[in-house]
Symmetry: C2
């Protein structure tokens, strides 16, 4: 039985100083939002409102609640339970300290039965946000703790560090005899046609003499029922299932989930249930394997090694991972609901994505996130909370990382969707300077090995062969993304970005009217990341927009041009990555979503869950089967040979029948011209086909766009179209004067 708690919150400057004022608190949530609500502040997402919150990160925040006397029945106990309190905190009951903890990912469960016989005051004192003493005001303040670094300020996240109770927190009345944990670990046979199960149960006390374990299949039928004697509060049972239904990512099969149910009884005779727990289980085997041909490289002496494996094999089948980098969907993770997760996850699935990389700068999501992923057939690459910092080898940091990582692994390993553990983001790059020798990463390997060895582990992204970036359309003065990506030879593109402005409607919702146009630094455009995010022009990158389209004359034009670049840029990268299969096996753009409304960002879904045009472009490029073209560059002019290469991409587990593809070119609003007809032979499952290259001499024309359309006869769901820039005679003269800032 669950009891909610009514909380108040207030702040003070010192740990043992009572707050001067108490305001109502929403739990889960964040102290900042409670205070803002009490002060009736405008929304923190509008304009420069977020700056009001800055002072709060350095205060002591105290939650308090008066718990009334409870008369518990014989054999009942009362627990205070919290799934997460952010970040360092002390829990007191009537002023007496019950627990002091650092770490927001380690749940709390305190038996307060004896104290609750009379009314008590429960307090949770949250310490100021952790900061390394001598660090500059930046993410490096978070480099000795397990607090997500993103809150300390990022190029798409304002400096705003949430604090407080961020996950479900309540009082729970339980029988003294209850199940502390009941977990099934499984191992699939090599041939995948049998699964061996191991149930391990820990009980709170030894009263219960027997437990019953029942396995329910996805159709709701009981597969088996076993009972087991409890010895020393523990019980282990083995079982197996023949021909289990396998869980697949949604684009490769179904997501059958079994349910393991464990019951204990009050007395053997009455069979009245004292407690039960259930666990949903999807059976799948995941590995990181070498790509085809990998062992042949390198060939020269002195001989080094092949690239490390990053091809994901699911149930014996190589799965090309198409997906995205997931970030905080809110500055305040405490406010995220199961429905919020669902809307974003359903959108990702609809975009034909099968993998989400949960980037290490942010939180480890709540349970409902993983439950949805299990059900939706979305695979999760889960990072630990380390990003872009040099996390130290110090005993203090290793201790907290050990605690938090163990909590994270034991919670998430139950979820079928979690297919990859990763130490954190960009830890081997120059801005982090960690290495394979860093003790925090060796610790994470050891903990993942100990607690969940059948799920692959990598220390960071990128590893050798994998690539991050670039985060713009034009890579250098002489190279656009279409040119650069055709030369790249990475095994996985685990971050790549093309920025765009948000929609006009979105921009109007948080930028004051007088600042709207033209966009300028020093306004809400800047604090919402359009300027000086990483460099002067990021992320609006108006210089690149002007480079291709000439000067923009309205907000609508700027947004249209920028969003076209983003859509075509992402289309190029996803499809090029797929063309590079089997060497390449992964394409995850940076990034999917946003923690608040940005003015410009690499995201394809605006806050909170509004798809940009690029979302639909990505959706098209991630279709399991599609017509695709390797186009030599983005910007064309008359007298050049237009030479698109045709491809048929197939990531699906199905063969493709032979057929016909037609390529058409349209100049501006002109007539569609047939460039080429390709009669392709049938295609194996999960194999691409490289087709012919069309050749067409571009005529003089005053149009500003070219459109390449690929039509698959009788399979219009595989058709594709690309919009390119044509700098014909109608193109603004000014364009040649625009300079790119690299």
């Amino acid at each position: 039985m669950i009891h909610t708690i009514d909380w108040e919150v207030g702040w003070s400057d010192r740990e043992f100083e009572a707050p001067a004022r108490w305001v109502p608190a929403t739990v889960p949530g964040a102290v900042q939002l409670d205070w803002a609500k009490a002060e009736q502040w405008d929304d923190h997402t509008y304009g420069e409102n977020w700056r009001q919150y800055e002072w709060m990160e350095d205060k002591y925040w105290t939650y308090r609640a008066h718990l009334q006397a409870l008369s518990l029945s014989e054999g009942e106990r009362l627990y205070f339970v919290s799934r997460g309190i952010d970040y360092s905190f002390t829990i007191r009951l009537n002023g007496i300290e019950l627990l002091r903890q650092e770490g927001m990912f380690t749940p709390v469960k305190l038996d307060i039965t004896d104290q609750i016989r009379q009314g008590v005051e429960l307090e949770i004192v949250i310490e100021p946000a952790p900061k390394r003493v001598d660090a500059p005001i930046s993410r490096s303040q978070a480099d000795q703790c397990c607090k997500p670094a993103v809150s300390y300020g990022w190029d798409w996240h304002p400096r705003l560090i949430p604090l407080g109770i961020w996950d479900d927190t309540y009082l729970s009345i339980r029988n003294d005899a209850h199940i502390v944990s009941a977990e099934v670990i499984y191992e699939l046979s090599d041939s995948l046609d049998q699964v061996d199960l191991n149930l391990q149960v820990y009980l709170n006390q030894i009263d219960s003499e027997e437990l019953v374990w029942r396995m329910i299949n996805p159709e709701g039928e009981t597969v088996f029922e076993h009972s087991c004697a409890v010895v020393n509060k523990k019980c282990t049972i083995q079982a197996s299932i023949d021909k289990p239904k396998l869980w697949w990512p949604h684009d490769h099969g179904e997501q059958p989930l079994y349910t393991s149910e464990v019951y204990i009884y009050s007395t053997r005779e009455s069979r009245s249930i004292a407690d039960h727990q259930s666990q949903r289980i999807g059976f799948r085997r995941v590995k990181l394997v070498m790509h085809e041909g990998a062992w042949k490289e390198p060939s020269k002496f002195p001989k080094s090694r092949s690239n490390p494996p990053i091809t994901l094999e699911v149930n014996g089948r190589n799965v090309f991972c198409k997906g995205t980098n997931w970030v905080h969907p809110s500055i305040f993770p405490g406010t995220i609901t199961a429905d919020d997760y669902y809307v974003l996850l359903e959108l990702a699935k609809t975009a034909n994505m099968n993998m989400l990389r949960i980037w290490g700068g942010g939180i480890v999501n709540k349970e409902s996130f993983f439950e949805h992923c299990d059900e939706l057939g979305l695979m999760v690459w889960q990072e630990f909370p380390l990003a872009c910092n040099l996390y130290p080898d110090s005993p203090a940091y290793l201790k907290i990382l050990d605690q938090e990582s163990r909590s994270i692994i034991t919670r998430l390993r139950k979820h079928t969707s979690v297919v990859l553990w990763c130490g954190g983001n960009e830890l081997f790059n120059a801005w982090s300077k960690m290495t394979d020798q860093s003790l925090p990463l060796r610790l994470l390997n050891a903990n993942c090995y100990e607690l969940d060895r059948n799920t692959p582990f990598i220390m960071t992204s990128p590893l050798d062969g994998m690539g991050h970036g670039h985060y713009m359309f034009q890579y250098s003065p002489s190279e656009d993304v279409l040119q650069a990506m055709a030369k790249a030879q990475n095994t996985a593109y685990t971050e790549f970005g093309v920025p765009s402005p948000s929609s006009v409607e979105q921009l109007m919702s948080f930028i004051p009217p007088e600042e709207l146009f033209p966009p300028k630094p020093g306004t809400s455009w800047e604090s919402h990341h359009a300027f000086n995010a990483l460099s002067e022009n990021m992320w609006l990158m108006a210089d690149q927009i002007e480079h291709y389209f000439g000067p923009y004359e309205s907000l609508e034009q700027l947004v249209e041009y920028g969003q076209l670049l983003q859509a075509e840029g992402y289309k190029c990268i996803y499809e090029e990555a797929r063309r590079q299969k089997p060497k390449c096996s992964m394409a995850l753009n940076w990034c999917y979503n946003e923690p608040w409304p940005s003015a410009a960002n690499n995201s394809i879904v605006s806050w909170p869950a509004k798809p940009k045009p690029s979302y639909y472009a990505v959706q098209a490029s991630c279709r399991p089967i599609l017509a695709s073209s390797r186009i030599p560059k983005f910007s064309w002019q008359d007298g050049e040979w237009f030479e698109p290469e045709l491809w048929l991409l197939n990531d699906s587990p199905s063969t493709v029948q032979s057929g016909r593809m037609e390529a058409y070119l349209t100049l501006g609003a002109g007539t569609r011209q047939l460039l080429l007809t390709w009669d392709f032979a049938s295609l194996e499952a999960n194999v691409n086909r490289r087709g012919p290259t069309a050749r067409f001499l571009l005529p003089n024309d005053d149009c500003t766009r070219l459109t390449l359309e690929l039509i698959v006869v009788d399979r219009q769901e595989w058709n594709s179209a690309y919009t390119l820039v044509y700098k014909g005679s109608g193109f603004p003269e000014k364009i040649s004067r625009s300079t790119l800032n690299f």
Copy 2:
């Protein structure tokens, strides 16, 4: 008190079948040698004698000993102790099984006090050599066990798999109250001027109430003495030493060793010693760090990662590692004595080497090896017994690897000389196919983290950036080792070989006279690795010898030519690796020594400890300071410009004063000609100086050799000389017909 045991040994075809014949056994040793001695066989190193031993690997070998009744005093206990039994075995006392164990690196200690009150028969039944059932007759038979793979046959090791008691084994009478283990773990402060010590002691029983811990400095003075109460058979004491003397590799400083002594007493009053243990400790801090400039690579997008670190930092100073790959010094490791180790190690130190890579194909050496290394200032790169195989993720293999690696780590971590753990040899290459995801390697990383985290760990060699090979003088028809190495850009050359024949005297000692010349396949030349070792010509590689020198007419000439190639080849690689500092930080040739007399091999020390000419060349190239030249190629002719580049190499911790270097060229036995004089400025510690390039047009001459001499005025100990081939008019015509086999 130690009692030796008199053993006999015999074999049978089945586990519970008694041997038909018993012969005296030497312990430690190998069952094969005992049998051979009883049969009065000739030495196994001569000719084809080794083939006699083949059948023995598949037998059950039983050691037996009659232990007489012992009357122990009150409070005394008797233990059967073995430091190593190879490989799977059962120990029985009067037919009753006491222990069944797989693994030669986990010591045995059995309390047989109660059984020994009357005479007993002790038996150790050794199982046949472990072999994967479906494997071909090769090293892959060893891919599911922790038995060193080399014994199953290698390109320099015959197929001969030792079995038996291979390390010290005896009866030990001890007080019931004795020290089970007493180990000091230390941590140096960042500034290296304080060391914090943690002593952890486990006792056999709780009688002892107090223990005393005394620390003796290298001069024999007591630094501190602490006493501590024993609680629950355990005791932990902390202490620290200010300004500890640091241990250095021999070319960077002294090897001061402290001694930690732990005493327990029979009774508090009498102070009579019940037991004591001592441990020698050298204080040093080792890390693997990134080389200078490493973080700038790679620079392009999509951005991958920098090479993993392999530069060894000792006590805050980067140390260029010059050394070699150590292999079994005997086919039968059980026969290796402390003196055998000492002779080889002293030779390595005299060769100016500071690091030995203990290659994973072989055994983990006995204690005396590491004791010598601690004293001699030789650093040890220690691999686990995995090499060139795909060791599986199976629970059975992981279990034995867990046991054996824990035994190895806890034994060796006490040794100052062990500066690097490594999973094994060439595991990430195509012939092994393991990866970073392989559970055995993740387990080894986890165990090293848990038990010895302050010593670096790498999964295998080579890693990215590091290079293995090549193993010949001519790398391709158009490229010799001088040309190839100048183009290489590796961070560490952890294996590289150039083969040569053994000396004439050595060859005559094991090749029957009728087979001696000319060398032919199918003779003892072949079984001693001169032909068909890896390929038809390996390792004699007469084709390469003929390519440079023309046909050989005698054994003496063949040996002279081959040994010259080896000496000059190794000189090139060691010095080129040093010139590539700081990107490169390591040069370890393949290999140092041999398990038996080879006819041709990459070794520089012939079995058992006879330096080849290349040994002295390597010794010269590894001097801390020397004049060196990057010479464009090995073979010259008239009309070519001879353009050696001059260098002064300094790996020492000392600055080098300014001075003068002179370069002289001599054609054949002609007059020495001055090519260049270089007045070099003074040089920082551990920094090289690239000097000028000389240019000299080679005249027509009938000589067959060029000699380049580098003379450092007043510092003749830095002088160098290189011998090159000159294909002048006197060169044999035939030469142009020789073809190289690649």
